[in-house]
Symmetry: C2
Subunit: 412 residues, 2 copies
C-alpha cells in the first residue's frame, strides 16, 4: 500500500473539519467554521429549552437489524454504514435519530413521566454521494413530544418551528411552512371514492408528493391514467386554489381535528407575517405518519429547498413492543447551514468573550503576567492570549495579536 496516500491530511470524504475562525489566515467559504456549528447548536438548544423541551442523547452505534426492519433491507444496505464487531454483533452508525429515541423511550417506558418533550443534537452517518445540502456525516436535531394525543401538542410543534426561525433572526419572507394531515387527506380520498383501489390512492399520493416539482400537464397526464377528467379537475382546484369551493370541502374535513382548528386560528394571530400554508400537497412520501404532516422550506431563490419536515407518527414505539402517540421533526445541520449562510444570519463575531492580548517584553515579566494581569482579567470575565516572541518587532507582535482576534492589547 502506498504510504503517502495513507497519510493524506484531508478529512474522510463527505465529512467536515471545523476550524476556529481566528486561527485562519485567509478565510474562505470552503472552510467549515466551528463557531457556525456552535451557533446552530446553541441557538436551537436555548430555544428548545425555553419552550419546555429537555435534552437527551444516545450512542452513535445501534444494532443494524432495527434499521433494516424500520426502513427495509435495501434502503438500509445502500445508505447504512454497518459492520460486524469483534463479538459478531451486526452494528450500524445511525443514519437518523428517530429510531434511537424510540428505543430509549421503550427501554425505560415504565420509569418515564409521559408526555415527554424531548430533543437531542447528535451526529449521523449516511453513505451518500456528497453534494450541496448532503454529506456523509451530519448533525440532526431530533425534536419530539411523546405520549400525548391532544391536538394541542401538534400545534405546539408548529409554533415551536416558528420560534426556532425567530431565534435564528430569520424574517418571515425567508422561509415558509406547509402542512397537511394524513387523516384529512384519506377522508377526502374516501369521500371522493379514491381510496378503495390502492393503485388510485398511491397515484394521488405520489402526484401530490411531487406537486411543486411537476408541470401541470405532467400531473394531469399521470392522474388521467387512473381517474376521469372531472376527478382530475377537482384535485387541481382543491390543491391550487384555497379560495375554491373544492378546497373548502377539504378544509371542512380538517375542522374535525383540534390541531387543525388551533393552527388556523392561532398561527395568524401569533405570527401574522409568517407564511404558514395548509395544503393537500404535503405528503412526506410513504413514511409512517398518522396525522399532521409538515415541511419547512427555504425561500432563498438561489437555494430554494426543503429544510426539514415531520409530523405525527403514533406507531413510533411499535418496533419495540410499546405503544405511545408521538409528534416531531428533525432539522439537519447541513441544510440549515445553507439557509443561515444564504441569508447571512450567522453572527460576525465567533465569541462573546473578549480576548485581551498580552505582550511581555521578556521572561522576567511572566511572573507579573501570571500572578497579577491574568487573575485580574479573569475577574472581569475576559480571556487572554500571551505572545512570547520577545525578540520580535513590537508593532508586528501587536498586529499579530489583533489578527488573532484580541480586541484589546496590554503592553507590560
Amino acid at each position: 500500500m502506498n504510504k503517502k496516500s495513507f497519510l493524506g491530511s484531508s478529512p474522510y470524504k463527505g465529512t467536515r473539519d471545523f476550524y476556529p475562525l481566528t486561527s485562519i489566515i485567509n478565510s474562505s467559504n470552503s472552510i467549515s467554521y466551528k463557531h457556525h456549528q456552535n451557533y446552530f447548536f446553541e441557538t436551537i438548544r436555548s430555544c428548545l429549552i425555553l419552550n419546555g423541551f429537555c435534552e437527551y442523547s444516545s450512542s452513535l452505534i445501534e444494532e443494524k437489524g432495527a434499521f433494516t426492519i424500520k426502513s427495509g433491507e435495501e434502503l438500509a444496505s445502500n445508505q447504512l454504514y454497518y459492520f460486524t464487531d469483534k463479538g459478531d454483533r451486526e452494528i450500524a452508525l445511525r443514519p437518523e435519530l428517530t429510531l434511537s429515541i424510540a428505543r430509549m423511550v421503550a427501554d425505560k417506558f415504565d420509569n418515564l413521566r409521559l408526555p415527554l418533550r424531548w430533543f437531542s443534537i447528535d451526529n449521523c452517518f449516511r453513505y451518500e454521494r456528497p453534494q450541496k445540502g448532503r454529506l456523509r456525516e451530519f448533525w440532526q436535531v431530533e425534536v419530539d413530544i411523546i405520549g400525548a394525543k391532544a391536538g394541542a401538542v401538534d400545534f405546539e410543534i408548529i409554533r415551536l418551528i416558528l420560534e426556532i426561525f425567530q431565534a435564528f433572526k430569520a424574517k418571515p419572507n425567508m422561509y415558509k411552512i406547509m402542512y397537511n394531515h394524513r387523516l384529512v387527506l384519506d377522508k377526502w380520498l374516501s369521500n371522493n371514492g379514491w381510496i378503495e383501489e390502492l393503485e388510485i390512492k398511491n397515484l394521488i399520493y405520489k402526484v401530490l408528493d411531487d406537486w411543486f416539482k411537476l408541470e401541470n400537464a405532467e400531473k394531469e397526464q399521470k392522474l388521467l391514467t387512473k381517474l376521469d377528467q372531472k376527478s382530475v379537475d377537482k384535485i387541481f382546484k382543491t390543491v391550487d386554489n384555497n379560495q375554491s369551493l373544492e378546497f373548502k370541502e377539504y378544509q371542512e374535513i380538517a375542522n374535525q381535528y383540534e390541531e387543525m382548528i388551533l393552527l388556523q386560528k392561532l398561527i395568524p394571530k401569533l405570527y401574522p407575517d409568517a407564511n404558514v400554508i395548509f395544503t393537500p400537497a404535503i405528503i412526506r412520501g410513504q413514511a409512517y405518519y398518522t396525522g399532521l404532516i409538515f415541511e419547512a422550506f427555504d425561500n432563498n431563490p438561489t437555494n430554494s429547498r426543503s429544510l426539514f419536515g415531520g409530523g405525527r407518527f403514533d406507531d413510533l414505539l411499535d418496533l419495540y413492543g410499546k405503544s405511545s402517540p408521538a409528534v416531531g421533526f428533525a432539522p439537519g445541520d447541513v441544510s440549515v447551514h445553507e439557509f443561515l449562510a444564504g441569508w447571512e444570519l450567522y453572527p460576525k463575531q465567533p465569541s462573546e468573550i473578549q480576548v485581551v492580548g498580552i505582550m511581555p517584553n521578556s521572561k522576567e515579566e511572566l511572573e507579573n503576567v501570571f500572578t497579577t494581569i491574568i487573575p485580574d482579567l479573569q475577574l472581569q470575565n475576559k480571556a487572554f492570549e500571551i505572545d512570547y516572541d520577545y525578540d520580535r518587532n513590537p508593532n508586528k507582535r501587536y498586529e499579530n495579536l489583533k489578527k488573532r482576534g484580541c480586541t484589546e492589547i496590554l503592553k507590560s
Copy 2:
C-alpha cells in the same frame, strides 16, 4: 435470526443513553443523565475559552492506516473499530482525538496563525471490555498548544488544568497533579551511566512507570536484574524523598528548563493549597513525549485513579510531513464523571431556566394560554410546560407538573 433479540431496547454494549432527569420517575445511579454530561461539556468549554483556547471539531471517521502507523498494527487491530466502506476505503472510528488534530493542522498548515491554542470535545470509540471508568464510546476533551516552543506554554497547560479543577469547584484535597520531564529524566539517566544500554533505560522507565503500583521489594528485585545495589538505592532516594541530596541532583537538571522553573516558582504562589508534585516517577508509558509530562489523579479513596495525562510531543505532525512543537492533554468524560460523581460535584438542578407549569381547564382556554400567558413567560425568559389532562383531578395535575420539574404552576 431471532426477531425479538434484534429489537431489544438496551443501548449497544459499552455505550450509554443519556436521559433528562425530570423525565425519570425513579432515578438511580445506573442511569446516565444528560445534564451531567452537559455540565461536564459546558464547564470545561467555558473554562477553556476564558483561558484563550478556541474550539475546533473533526469527523468521527478517519482512515485506518493513520492509526496503524501511529500506534502499531496490533494495538490498532485490537482496540479499533474499523471496517471497509462501499468505496473500498479502510476507515476507523477514532479511538482518540490527537491524530485528528495533527491531520487538521497539517491540512491547513500554511493558512494557520501559529501558535494555536485549540480544544475539541468529541466522541471516540474503543473496542474494550466495559468496566468502571472505561466504556466503548466515550467523549474526550483534546486540549493543545501547537506551534510554540516557549516553556511558558507548558506552564500555561499545567495552570489550565488547575483552572479546570477550580471551574468544577473541586477542592485541592480532591485531586493531585504529578509531573516530570523526559529530557530531565534522560539527562539524569545519562549522568548516571544508565542510558547507553537500552535494556537498562527501558527497565528504569518501566519501574518508574509502575512506581506507585509496585511494592518496594518488587521494584528493588526488578532493578537489581540490571543494576547494582548502589544504583538501586540512588533511584529509591531520588524518587521517594524530595528532600534528599539525590533528588536535589534531579532538581538541578530540571532548573535548565524554563517550564520547570516557572512551575516550581509560580504554582505555589497561584495555587498554594494545590497538590502539584514534581517526581521522576511519572513516565506516561512508551509514548512519544519530548519534554514535560504530567498526570492528574483523583484522590477519592474509593476510586483512586489516574484521571488524565499529557505532555509535550514536538513530533505531533511528523506523520503528516509537517513539523511543529506541541503540548497538550485529553481528559475523558468517563473518568471525570467518576470524579465529579464521587465527590458530589454535580449541580443538583438540571437547568438554570425556570419552568412554569400551565393547567388550562378546557380547550377553550388554549387561545389565552398561547397568545397571552406563554408570550409573557418568554419575555421573562421562563420556559413553560402545559398539562392537557382537563378531566383529571386538579390536585393530581398540579402534583404531576411539580414532579416534572416545574417550579411554579399557573392555574388559569
